[in-house]
């Protein structure tokens, strides 16, 4: 029997290549795709990741401690800054918690204004994700589509609240008069700026149109599909056990939305679809947001048609003091469940405020998903969770 010399050479080459040394790869803290300052300590073997340890805390600002020395109105301004991409949505569960402890009911008009702005915050937060995630995977065009429309929505939020990212617009008992509302008397308060309804209709129509374009850009993009389909599959059990919530949980096929179960805003007045994914992969997590933007835009349009007139703030004392008590209030933030456990001892500020943020739990599941994946999928997977490091580090 003759021996093929080439055969031996091939065998030799393979056995040599198999011995790859284990090494540690540091991603971050400063990395363009880490949405802030997150460090990932990855142990890798060749192109495969053995395990990943996220190192967080670079942006820890101690909001829970700070809240213990601040008054309730001051805390509302602080909470804006936890997740700065959807600052408005962070205020809602806190003011609702305070209102429930005080047994104050905000007027219907204030609740509708809150709902409209809350959904606008969701649209702007989702648009940021729709823009940045494809960019991380090398697709640049969705960025321009999404950012153009996001700016429109931010302009609307700014026209009402006076702030693009940090509205600080809610008061215990209602909302404050719109930015630049001018001289007001106690009876006539201009709560929404002139032309707000007309501009909102235009903006929401454009948002709906760009959703179609974005969907085409994704579904028609072979590279994006190859990078996201079947990558980073998360089961519903794993997601729930880690407290992964919001669109990330729904992408794993769980039809659960706190807007339906916790009646903190008049969401019961509207029909909206809660989209769910089939596979729980990066692709599902991405398209969930497209669907949710659509539902939010439709809800805003329905809400400005149905908005009742009347006062925008209930009668509350000038100095807000909450009676002794404890309450946990959670709400559907664009990134998932955000909640506050408020412990009041009867003073002008809380004795303890536990801040539960969505991104913290969403990031904590990453080590489970990144085990054994290829290095290029690292960015694809953790980018798909749409987290903000301010929301992780608090």
């Amino acid at each position: 029997m003759t021996v093929d010399p080439m055969m031996h050479l091939a065998d030799a080459a393979i056995s040599l290549e198999l011995e790859t040394p284990e090494m540690t790869l540091n991603v971050g803290p400063q990395h363009p795709s880490t949405h802030g300052v997150l460090r990932l300590k990855a142990r890798i073997d060749g192109e495969r990741i053995i395990d990943v340890e996220p190192v967080i805390g670079y942006m820890h600002r101690g909001y829970e401690k700070l809240a213990e020395v601040r008054t309730y109105p001051q805390i509302i301004a602080l909470l804006n800054r936890i997740d700065w991409v959807s600052g408005y949505a962070n205020e809602i569960p806190f003011v609702v918690a305070a209102e429930r402890l005080m047994e104050v009911e905000p007027p219907p008009r204030a609740q509708y204004i809150r709902l409209i702005l809350n959904e606008m915050a969701r649209i702007s937060s989702h648009f940021l994700f729709m823009a940045s995630y494809p960019l991380e995977l090398g697709a640049a065009s969705p960025f321009f589509f999404a950012f153009r429309e996001r700016e429109r929505v931010l302009d609307l939020i700014e026209s009402v609240t006076g702030g693009r990212f940090h509205p600080n617009f809610n008061r215990v008992g209602g909302v404050k008069p719109a930015a630049g509302a001018g001289s007001t008397t106690k009876t006539i308060v201009q709560d929404l700026p002139a032309g707000f309804y007309a501009e909102t209709r235009v903006a929401m129509a454009k948002v709906l149109a760009v959703c179609d374009e974005l969907e085409d850009l994704i579904i028609g993009n072979e590279i994006l599909l190859a990078r996201t389909k079947g990558v980073g599959v998360m089961s519903a059990e794993l997601a729930a056990s880690y407290g992964v919530s919001g669109p990330n949980l729904r992408a794993s096929g769980v039809e659960f939305d706190l807007r339906r179960t916790e009646d903190y805003l008049p969401y019961g007045d509207f029909d909206f679809w809660v989209p769910t994914g089939e596979n729980g992969d990066c692709y599902d997590r991405y398209v969930m947001r497209v669907y949710e933007i659509r539902e939010s835009a439709k809800m805003v349009l329905a809400a400005i048609d149905a908005i009742p007139s009347g006062p925008i703030i209930a009668k509350v004392p000038k100095v807000i003091k909450l009676p002794k008590g404890e309450i946990y209030m959670r709400a559907e933030n664009p990134k998932g469940e955000v909640g506050y456990y408020l412990v009041s001892e009867g003073g002008t500020g809380p004795y303890r405020l536990v801040v539960r943020t969505a991104s913290f739990s969403n990031v904590s599941v990453l080590p489970e998903l990144l085990e054994g994946v290829l290095i290029p999928d690292l960015i694809a997977i953790f980018g798909s969770f749409d987290f903000v490091l301010g929301d992780v580090d608090r």
Partner: protein
């Protein structure tokens, strides 16, 4: 919010019925309280993991929402002390929920300060891992059986447990907050 149709049972009654169900299933939880739409179940420290395991397996509360602690003390360095005298202790709280109907229960237990130890939940809920690390560094509570009990936010060399009420807020020490006497009055209309 209040205009929920009242033809059936009120939300509060419904929650109360649920709290009784929680009490029956857990078996050893002390009076389950329903306050402010929050169901709170007190369990003894040595049955902590047991209670949460039953909550997950028998009550279907598979979603781990959060875990944290409260430092109950009468001697505070920051903020206002409690309104009335409290027993010195750490209160450890964990909220778990379902992902179908929106039910949630906050489990709570007391941990004495001179023996700040409690069993880790990380075997039951994966999400407890990071939350327990946070409570470990912020309050100095030892979670027995935790696989990786290291600091989460704080740098390695940091000393002290910042969320304890005995830990002063340094920026406040240097310069008192301008609103410390009273909050500013709302600007009057037309001014």
């Amino acid at each position: 919010m209040s205009d929920v149709p009242s033809e059936s049972v009120s939300p509060h009654e419904e929650l109360f019925t649920y709290a009784e169900h929680v009490y029956d299933v857990i078996g050893f939880a002390d009076p389950v309280a329903v306050r402010n739409r929050t169901v709170k179940a007190f369990v003894k420290r040595d049955r902590w993991v047991d209670a949460l395991r039953r909550a997950r397996n028998d009550l279907g509360l598979v979603f781990f929402s959060w875990l944290s602690a409260i430092d109950w003390t009468n001697e505070v360095q920051v903020g206002d002390p409690p309104a009335s005298h409290v027993k010195e202790r750490f209160e450890v709280l964990a909220t778990v929920a379902d992902i179908t109907e929106g039910r949630r229960v906050t489990f709570t237990t007391d941990v004495p300060k001179d023996d700040a130890r409690i069993d880790s939940l990380s075997e039951v809920y994966g999400g407890a891992n990071w939350f327990e690390r946070g409570a470990f560094e912020m309050f100095g509570i030892d979670f027995v059986g935790h696989p990786y009990l290291r600091k989460l936010y704080l740098p390695e060399g940091f000393e002290g447990n910042p969320m304890r009420k005995s830990f002063p807020l340094l920026s406040r020490e240097i310069r008192p907050w301008p609103g410390s006497v009273d909050v500013e009055p709302m600007p009057e209309a037309g001014s």
